[in-house]
Symmetry: C2
Subunit: 329 residues, 2 copies
Amino acid sequence: MSSIDQVALLAKVSVATVSRVINNSGNVSPETRQRVLAAVERLKYQPNAMGSLLRKEHTGMILVMLHSVDNPFFAPIVQGIESYAQTNGMNVLISTTYGDPSRESHYLELVKTHFVDGILLIANTMTLEVLNELSTRFPVVQVLEYLEDSEASRVTIDFHAATVELIEGLVAKGHRHIAFVHTGLEHIISTQKKRQAYVEVLAKHGLPPYEIPGPHDFGYESGAQLARQLLETHPQISAFFATSDLIATGILSTLEAMDVQVPKDKAIVSFDNTVFATLSRPTLTSVEVNGYELGSQAMDYLFRRIHQKKYRDKVCLTLPYTIHHRDSE
Amino acid sequence: MSSIDQVALLAKVSVATVSRVINNSGNVSPETRQRVLAAVERLKYQPNAMGSLLRKEHTGMILVMLHSVDNPFFAPIVQGIESYAQTNGMNVLISTTYGDPSRESHYLELVKTHFVDGILLIANTMTLEVLNELSTRFPVVQVLEYLEDSEASRVTIDFHAATVELIEGLVAKGHRHIAFVHTGLEHIISTQKKRQAYVEVLAKHGLPPYEIPGPHDFGYESGAQLARQLLETHPQISAFFATSDLIATGILSTLEAMDVQVPKDKAIVSFDNTVFATLSRPTLTSVEVNGYELGSQAMDYLFRRIHQKKYRDKVCLTLPYTIHHRDSE
DNA sequence: GGGGTGGGTGTAAACGATTACATAAAATAA
DNA sequence: TTATTTTATGTAATCGTTTACACCCACCCC
């Protein structure tokens, strides 16, 4: 690996001049510039990032913590982040946590040691203490999921309002027995908000809630299994409210296997509006969050937080959502 | 941000001693260690990564270049990579390229400047020159997709053999008019290999090929659209060979809309064996690659390439695949 | 001719760690 | 007691850059 000194030597100039050529900073005569560039080419010189970053305040890297790379739901968020980053000269790196706190805190080291300038948390699972400690000292923004009483900033949607709208819709269509089907990830705020809204709306109309604890996964299987259990014990259920459309797809498969017609016999509504909502038959009514907007807004705040020291106050942004009514209700 | 000098000052020791405590290297008396740790705690000292990495040969980071984070197909590969990395003390960072060469070369800078130690390319689109230049100078491994005549190492599967097996299966079932439906991403090696095998098998049996150029996307829509076009012009087609199961899902939706029964009237076989293959109705016959194994094997080679200078020869690994026969044929 | 101005370049001090080497003190051996 | 090893610590060089500062020289303007 050739270093800047070797280039300087070969071009018969000082390292300062080489640096000026590389970074297009300061004044360099055309002839000298040529000599330097020739030497760079000769030696295939590439500046070492650690050397230069040591002198700078920022690395220009930001880290996105993601559950995994197989969830279509997160893709638009990541795109929003990357698009903002690109136009502002930052680089986005992604790490996957699979909901494992130890993996999370492992990657947090990257911001603590200033390897990256900031972190965007998508569906993090760390404790309140860890998060608060982190967010007071480093640029951090929570995206979508968040810890309610945390000091950390966040960009999210109003899960409560969206759920109220969904359930009220079902009630208006005459449903009196509506079940709540979720992933078993009790602690995440979206599930809590959805459950709370669900319970409130039912209570308001004097209707009974139906819910059984589910396995801890993201999806299809648990939806199928929970639907089966619910219908065995409570055949009067006429509508399902699923916390994700992958779960809804699972419910659909159970209903199909039981020869139950959707939406004639049972209705289904869900969240996320991923490709599964339009791919399934019937298509699913689902709540869409504008992931792209969510991502770029989060990035916008993070960017300001990184570059303006005064910009330290907690920010809570709530973006609008859209309900797509389709054939499942 | 407190630095090591401030800790040294507060603990009344030299920076060398602080460093020894932090890294558990060399001998430090228990009392001194305590004083240093107390100072570290007081100042909330975190070593700056750039400072220490400047002295080291490696950063312990490797970069995975991915198309996007919404493809379930890549998830096992990433998991295999991460699992290997974790047990070997490395960190995995992911970047998305969306097939954009400029984004690719942008992220390549990270290995050139020694910000990361090596790169795993999943479905890269760079030119042969760029890749060769890169791979001779830096640790790079191609995963799954690759450039045929490149100097760069790769870990992949035998697309040709898998396709032969699929098509021969269809022929054995009596199909005489089999269409080839792909994404329009002509240049990628898997598409080429699949087409070549498809053409060979048909030729061997004296059967006609059916193929029309498709739109450049990954999926569902193009599958649906191409199936419609193919059947309009060639109603005799009785089986579809799709290069991905997302495409196959699109084909299915068209057949459903046309009231064509699968597999009674038409058969479908595909690649990837993602969640879409089991979610769709009917379920899809699909080729499974062992992504986890693919990822960890690739990482294993990359790791050795990084840490043993002699380990420079090109390696081409071909891992086995599995065909899951399901209800679509 | 003297005093600016500014372009082109070099010197050397950072940045924040690690570590080879030196040294002093303590423990051990003779 | 003295010689020898071991332990604990400090000094300073080093990693590869960037950049403040100093310098020289050419040019221009009175």
